[in-house]
């Protein structure tokens, strides 16, 4: 009884503390993710307040957090939106991959983490945070802007890229050979194709399995299905997160919308736990040595994301200011970079330093992203005024 009481008090303090951090973060207009990570660093090894007796719970919660993060990423866009996104913005999507994965790949190779580490770090610097970006665009009243569909279509493409990337990453992390890696690529491409076809043609059947007019039944069925699929996927060495993601894509239509609404608070709860646990498992002492590199990486990938957005918006005939806004909006990295880092570190295939670098990198980018989106307009205005003679369009 006594240990339960202590566990409850610890958990309560953690959640309440995270709530206060989240409130603070949104008040100053940044994402709470970096604060959750710092919270985790403070509680964990060598941190201020070590936690005892709730490790089992926090570990499982963080796993559920990853599953829900990816389930909702899959639910976010319908299969039809993914297909139009693929058709319309694949060039912008490719530019995005090349520009933004390369810095991570190079950094990993310089650090001697080998091709596996390079694959992981490429993912960490590539994937934008659709959660932070959607929130920031809404907060800044930019949903009606002409460049916003461009930003969203880049995010849609990244979503699809994740569907191919994650199975490959998990296969490579599991230590398959080069040939095995190739077959993993084949299998993951086949899997995503099958899931997209199912979602497009038979989505209503998948939806019908989990759908229910009763919210309570619906919640239990969706959550149950997600954990079941994730568990089975994990047993098949495909990673729980990937399974949940593919299930999210397969569920479509109004069922997907209801599921999103229902699961969002749960995701926020468990995802917060996931960030804390990730911070917990990272030794705060390991951050300072990689901080310089993280800052350099942040600077480079800020420029490359801005370039991506600029280029994509320009192709759609958006003016200079709109291009700058589109570029700055895409800068934020967050939850999915941490998911990739956590999958990589958990496998033990790459040096644990990757966790420290990814943490420091996301700490910077999750703060920098919303700030960049906010200051881009005044900055760009100052810049164009200084240049004065620059033509209005280029």
């Amino acid at each position: 009884m006594h240990s339960t009481a202590i566990a409850l008090i610890q958990l309560g303090a953690v959640f309440f503390g995270l709530g206060l951090l989240g409130k603070m973060a949104w008040r100053v207009g940044i994402s709470p993710i970096p604060l959750y990570l710092i919270g985790g660093l403070a509680f964990g090894q060598g941190g201020l307040v070590p936690l005892h007796g709730i490790e089992d719970f926090t570990h499982l919660s963080s796993e559920i957090g990853v599953i829900l993060l990816l389930l909702l990423l899959g639910l976010e866009y319908s299969a039809a939106e993914l297909m139009t996104g693929l058709k319309r913005s694949w060039t912008a999507g490719l530019v995005d991959i090349v520009l933004n994965a390369t810095p991570g790949v190079i950094a990993a190779l310089i650090l001697g983490w080998g091709p596996v580490g390079a694959l992981a770090m490429g993912g960490v610097t590539y994937i934008s945070s659709s959660g932070i970006i959607a929130k920031v665009l809404g907060d800044l009243g930019r949903l009606g802007n002409r460049e916003t569909p461009v930003v969203l279509s880049v995010l849609v493409f990244e979503d699809l890229a994740m569907a191919v990337y994650l199975p490959i990453l998990t296969a490579v992390l599991a230590g398959v050979s080069f040939l095995g890696g190739l077959s993993a690529v084949g299998i993951s491409l086949a899997a995503i194709t099958v899931v997209l076809v199912i979602a497009l043609k038979f989505g209503r059947y998948v939806s019908a399995v989990v759908d229910s007019p009763d919210p309570e039944v619906f919640l239990l069925k969706v959550l149950g299905a997600a954990l079941l699929v994730a568990g089975v996927a994990s047993q098949l060495q495909v990673s729980a997160a990937v399974g949940a993601f593919l299930l999210g894509i397969a569920i479509s239509g109004s069922t997907a919308e209801n599921a999103t609404r229902m699961l969002e608070p749960l995701r926020d709860l468990f995802a917060a736990m996931f960030f804390v646990v990730f911070g917990l498992n990272t030794d705060p002492a390991s951050i300072p040595p990689v901080l310089g590199l993280a800052v350099a990486l942040a600077a480079v990938t800020t420029v490359t994301k801005v370039a991506t957005g600029w280029w994509a918006a320009r192709r759609q005939g958006i003016g200079r200011m709109g291009r700058a806004r589109a570029g700055a909006a895409l800068v934020a990295r967050g939850e999915f970079s941490i998911v990739i880092a956590s999958l990589t570190v958990a496998s033990g295939a790459v040096d644990g330093e990757l966790a420290a670098l990814a943490t420091a990198y996301v700490l910077l980018m999750a703060v920098l992203g919303p700030v960049a989106a906010r200051v881009v307009e005044p900055l760009a205005k100052k810049f164009t005024r200084k240049r004065g003679t620059a033509p209005a369009t280029a």
Partner: protein, 160 residues
């Protein structure tokens, strides 16, 4: 009017059009049913000077405010071909004779030959109100009838 419909993946749909004043004006329909009224900036047509969140009820009230004057004009337009019939709207002031009474109690059709085709309340239009429709102060009653019928209706609805 050329309304452009743009899907916003993960968010909803944007519908907007260019107005003569040189701005884009439109509505974002969120997936969860919320609305946003958007007005583009004059200096930067890509940007929005205003994006105003509206609840479903607020959106329908605004739509009514903008749409209801057109309703009467539209009805008048339609009845122009029918000789001798026209459309008029009468207010029910608060505290008037029929404020709080059901439509049937006016016996408008029996007494004047004119009929009530719609009631505009708080910006939204209630078309073809049933006999049990209860009037409230501030309602605008849209009546169709002959010139004689309409003046009789004016007396009945407006008179104490």
């Amino acid at each position: 009017m050329n309304v452009e419909v743009t899907p916003l993946p993960g968010i909803g749909t944007r519908q907007d059009f260019m107005i003569r004043a040189g701005r884009r004006i439109g509505v974002i329909t969120h997936r969860d049913g919320k609305f946003e009224l958007i007005v583009s900036s004059l200096e930067d047509p890509d940007d929005c000077t205003a994006s105003i969140a509206l609840t479903a009820a607020e959106a329908s009230t605004l739509a009514g405010l903008l749409g209801s004057p057109q309703l009467v004009a539209h009805l008048q337009e339609q009845q122009r071909e029918v000789a001798g019939i026209s459309t008029k709207q009468f207010p029910i002031p608060p505290g008037a004779r029929f404020d709080g009474s059901p439509l049937a109690e006016t016996e408008l059709r029996t007494r004047t030959g004119a009929s009530i085709v719609a009631v505009v309340r708080a910006g939204s239009v209630h078309p073809s109100p049933r006999p049990d429709f209860v009037f409230a102060g501030g309602d605008l009653v849209v009546v169709v009838g002959t010139a004689d019928g309409l003046s009789a209706a004016a007396e009945l609805l407006g008179g104490g």
